[in-house]
Amino acid sequence: MSLEDLYREVIIDHYRSPRNREPLKHADTRAEGVNPLCGDEVTVELELSEDGSIDAISVRGQGCSISQSSASMMSELVKGKSRDEIEEVVEKFRAMMDLDGDATDVIDPEKPGSVLGDIEALYGVRKFPVRIKCANLPWTTLAEALERTN
């Protein structure tokens, strides 16, 4: 299965059936992100444990399949992770979407999904640079939510 096909199926699935959408009752932190160029919106809410790991996450928003599936897949990826693990994932995602770098340093195109799971489907977005901001939106919003706890 080519990465492009993966892109299509996984993305549409997360777009249609976004995970972790339920608002949190006792969120410790939250942030809202908007992509002013296309109007896409993402809200991230987090419940954190003492040590800073993510106990629960809610992502909601509206926008294209790229931003909304990215939000959904991100929520699955970071839930339950420690602060260090999150930082590692964030860095890998950033590297994967960085057109100045070579994503194959991070992920293995031969074994799609082996490093970051579903969200590697967004690798295909590199072919549409104008949409990279969409893929990144939930991640920058997550970063902002985490920053607010510092």
């Binding site: 299509r8 199926e9 996984v10 549409i12 699935d13 777009y15 249609r16 059936s17 296309c38 109007g39 896409d40 509206q62 926008g63 294209c64 399949s65 790229i66 909304q68 549409f128 104008v130 949409r131 969409c134």
Partner: protein, 414 residues
Amino acid sequence: MPSLDTAAIRSDFPVFERLIGGKQIHFLDSGASSQKPSQVLDAMTEFAAHHYANVHRGAYTLSLEATTEFERCRSSVARFIGATSPNEVVLTRGATTALNQIAFGWGGEHLRAGDKILLTTFEHHANLIPWQMVARRTGAQLDFVPFNEDYQFDIDVFEAKLDTDVKVVAVTGMSNVLGTLPPLRQIVEQSHSVGAIVVVDGAQLVPHLGVDVTDLGADFVAVSAHKMLGPTGIGFLWGRMDRLEEMEPFEGGGEMIADVTLESATWAQIPHRFEAGTPAIIESVGLTAAIEYLEALGMDAVAAHDAELTAYALGRLADVPDLTVYGPSDLSKRGGVISFTLGDAHPHDLATILDSEGVSVRAGHHCAKPLVRALGVPATARASFYVYNTTDDVDALLDGLSVAADIFSPSRVV
């Protein structure tokens, strides 16, 4: 018989020589900005290469040549829009600046608390935000005419809202999202009967259907060159002379003064008082060439061509499952702009998928957020036509939409 010889026209536009990802370009975003024919590019280059200098005040040959060309642009615009004099034409940066000049320069001077500014709910931000700013400054109130169930200008609401408190009616000549053509003549007549001036946002109207401003009888019209085959960086404001006399300059600077002391200044004659600073000189040559190109085609033929493509496209789109078109079904009430959504596919995704099939459409709120919100969608995709488009482009759009439909088909859900 087709209205335009599109094969000949397309050969004038170098962009169509290009393939992107091995595919021909099906450019369906002229509503945002049109492509440029080589006649326009060549005229600008030849002028800039051999006849360029700053305009006015220059007593030497190059400066005279440049001034002559610049003023020829003004005359060309006047002829193109049927102005009674070139002095009624102010060359601006574009439609946005023209509308700001009108809102601040006329509205800012003459509106008072309690006055009303009547707009539509489907204005481009360029004909909305300046009025919001001026309303805040003057205490005037904004009010809005909505579209009716067929996405047409709701003339009943307009008549109900039009009273002697209304001092300005500012309305698009053609909606850049719905394609709607408000009944301008009737709007002008009724507005004038209560003493309101009429400002027409001609950014879409004039490139596609032309205008005869004298015949229309409006007070101000704003237009951009880049949507009518011309360059960026230039547009124009037409105003009836008595209204221009009531308008204050929006910018101060060189070329717009009669006399200046350290403390104060008096204004130059109209239109120069509204053209502070070095104008878009090279661009004026391009605008003249664009006007000459359109005049050679004939604006009736341009409008008919748009209408033919629109009818063809609407016919084909009607057969696409889950596709919704936002705009008048009455073809006589709309121009060549088609906004649509396809099922639950987000318009940005549609635009990306269409792009990989060589089809350029715009997706988003099209600088008309209140309208798109009123449509109940986060965004629309929009295809818009111009002189170089053909039914081939429409067919490519339909092919692209079927790729998108396939990707977003419910059966693909895992």
